[in-house]
Assembly symmetry: C2
Homo-oligomer: 424 residues x 2
């Protein structure tokens, strides 16, 4: 197939007719497929069913002397703290184990800084202006938190090494209103890229103008490989400590995509200074999170080695799904030159940049044909993609068979929207 840019009007017309025919055929199938959210599929959930047997009516529910059924222990049971400390390259006493949602812990962290402040500074809510840096494309739920609080969001372009660090350094060192940055440093949502060692080192060496600037380091996909050549990520905490910057990062992770999305265990990790501020809130907010669920996880997954080994099971299910979508894109779209995409070694997404000005149209066409995608623009603050080009594909939820159809439809829609745009 020829590149669309090199096609004559006649050739484009012919391509358009052929694509419309294929599109109508798909539409007639009355499909209902969903590639919208980073949701594990049923087969992945089944992997963790044995965890439900770990605690039963005959179980001893004590852990190191603590009855996990009762009140008590604010920051989580020791085994889970240790397991995640290993995974996140931090110390166990830097870890706080929460409920079932790391998003909730991020929200509460931002909330604390809004109402109480951090680093002895005034609460963000009472500061004249608060800005957040948002590497794009990024995670819509991150942007949702800062938007909820009226925090001004600034787009930071990213490439295969991570955010544009020249821009980050400049803004962070010059503008006291810049209080934070949203990062998904490994298998980033949605591009799947992992921050390079240099990027991590530059983050760790930041000299923020604002004493209360913080890096929200959402390591959601820290061990979520889909390839046999996984990426590796430098320890942000170790690097920060080298620079006396250990108060910069606040790190998050969870088992949402390891055990059960609806019933996992979330954690955060940070320096003692930050933890003191956050624990002052936790102490008032709750007597403690669900320790039985922590215990269930600990006894089931054992330790960080057990956790890493466990991820192989997920990889076996997910890798073919990534391959399915990527193969379709390679086969159907590559030669046309009307889209570019990432081939991640892990995470939950494939990020596709379709022809500029056609992302919304591609999503609409897909929806008409029964394939739901994440809304175009969702990967940008305020839901606004300046180029109307980025689409996030989440290949994990459908079965491979469904996915093959959905991917084909996506390819047809991507090409059809491009041809229409080129001929307009």
């Amino acid at each position: 197939m020829k590149c669309y840019n090199e096609m004559s009007r006649e050739e484009l017309l012919e391509e358009k007719a052929s694509l419309e025919k294929a599109y109508e055929a798909y539409k007639a199938m009355g499909l209902s497929l969903n590639m919208a959210r980073g949701k594990p599929g049923a087969e992945q959930l089944d992997i963790s069913m044995p965890m439900l047997d770990v605690l039963n009516s005959a179980s001893d529910c004590t852990d190191e002397g603590t009855d996990c059924r009762n009140y008590g222990i604010l920051d989580g049971i020791p085994g889970v703290k240790k397991m995640f400390a290993d995974i996140l390259d931090v110390q166990p006493d830097e870890v706080f184990v929460g409920g079932n949602s790391s998003l909730n812990m991020m929200f509460d962290t931002i909330t604390t800084f809004m109402v109480k402040g951090v680093a002895g500074c005034k609460p963000w809510l009472t500061q004249e202006k608060v800005k957040f840096l948002c590497p794009v494309p990024g995670y819509d739920r991150h942007f949702g938190i800062t938007e909820y609080y009226g925090i001004e969001m600034i787009n930071i372009p990213t490439d295969e090494n991570g955010p544009d660090m020249d821009m980050v350094e400049k803004l962070v060192s010059e503008d006291e209103a810049v209080k934070g940055i949203w990062c998904v440093p490994k298998y980033s949502n949605p591009t799947g890229i992992t921050y390079s060692d240099e990027t991590v080192r530059r983050f760790a060496a930041l000299k923020p103008k604002a004493k209360d600037f913080r890096i929200i380091w959402d390591n959601a996909y820290v061990i979520h490989d889909v390839s046999d050549t996984p990426d590796s990520l430098l320890s942000i905490m170790d690097e920060c400590k080298k620079n006396g910057n250990e108060d910069l990062p606040i790190i998050f992770a969870s088992t949402s995509k390891i055990t059960f999305p609806g019933a996992g265990v979330a954690v955060m990790a940070c320096s003692k200074t930050n933890m003191d501020v956050l624990k002052a809130r936790y102490t008032k907010q709750t007597i403690g999170y669900d320790k039985l669920n922590m215990l269930r996880h600990q006894r089931y997954l054992k330790d960080s080695a057990g956790l890493r080994a466990y991820m192989e099971k997920h990889k076996a299910v997910i890798a073919p799904k990534f391959k399915c979508v990527l193969d379709a894109l390679d086969k159907e779209v590559k030669d046309t030159g009307c889209a570019a995409w990432t081939k991640p070694n892990g995470g939950y997404f494939i990020s596709v940049d379709v022809l500029e000005g056609t992302a919304k149209e591609v999503v609409r066409l897909c929806k008409e044909a029964g394939v739901v995608l994440t809304g175009a623009g969702a990967t940008f603050p305020y839901g606004s993609d300046p180029k109307d080009s980025n689409i996030r594909i989440a290949p994990t939820y459908p079965s491979v068979d469904e996915l093959a159809k959905a991917a084909d439809i996506f390819c047809v829609c991507t090409k059809l929207a491009a041809v229409n745009k080129l001929m307009a």
Copy 2:
């Protein structure tokens, strides 16, 4: 025994000598007993062990078509909403099911009003002055939340019918800075009293000066009877609706003292107007709470009738513990006239008013003899009991044998502190 007030100095001296002897004997026993927190004992936790068998690796984890293992459903699964709607006398669509802690839901509610406001009013954090009414004695963790946010707390005296409603009505109708009131309307923490019908009706008929005034109705002990003549509480929501005041109450409850304190299910209920404000936050804060734990609870407890019947099991364990403490007080302290206490029909506490100016000393003496009580003053805002008289006794955690010893020690300490005070 004679009333201390009627004793001669000589008689008091004799009593003191006898009490000191008893006290030293207890001290020599090197006991370690705890009546500090409203914590279920191990026997109560054992009641709910079969709940851990409800979901196992062979279970169908779907509920009305929703896979409870996965992401989804922000406000909780329908069966749990219905169960608690029945218990709390509200509609299912007025219920939101959260994580394991109703305290957390209260904290987040106050936080929302602090940073976003409610009823179209400015966020409390940006209003000049915010005050909360605090019926005393009350629940220390409630006061902890308002103290954390720098909200000024005003003591409201309570009697057997609930808070002094003349004072509540006056303050609420005259002072726009009064934004809320903490209530534990049934088997109140710590007095164990239940608000009378008239009290509930007067709450429901309040005409607050502040449009954003809210009643925090913590119905923590809604079905937690310890007697065969339980109290009954009028439905605050029904009464409020009669007055067009349905936006006033925000209701909370949980299974923390029904199943597992560390792994229960918490709920809140409120009008649509309030729910919209709170859901605007929940939507950004989380994808949803632990639905597997909700499902576990629903399948185990079935419905509100099942829940009510289940409470009989707790009553059978707790009632003898309440009796043990009350019998000791009756036998050892009553005639001396040096303390007064409540005889609650439910809840988790016995509230004792010892001789004015001796509560701290009683707690200290008990501690020296190996019996930990809630700190004196904890039942008042800022930890400050103006009369230094109220002590909260939590009889549920120790065994009856331990409790008998602890109650005896408490009686001795109460009398010893009184005698010392009277002779000073």
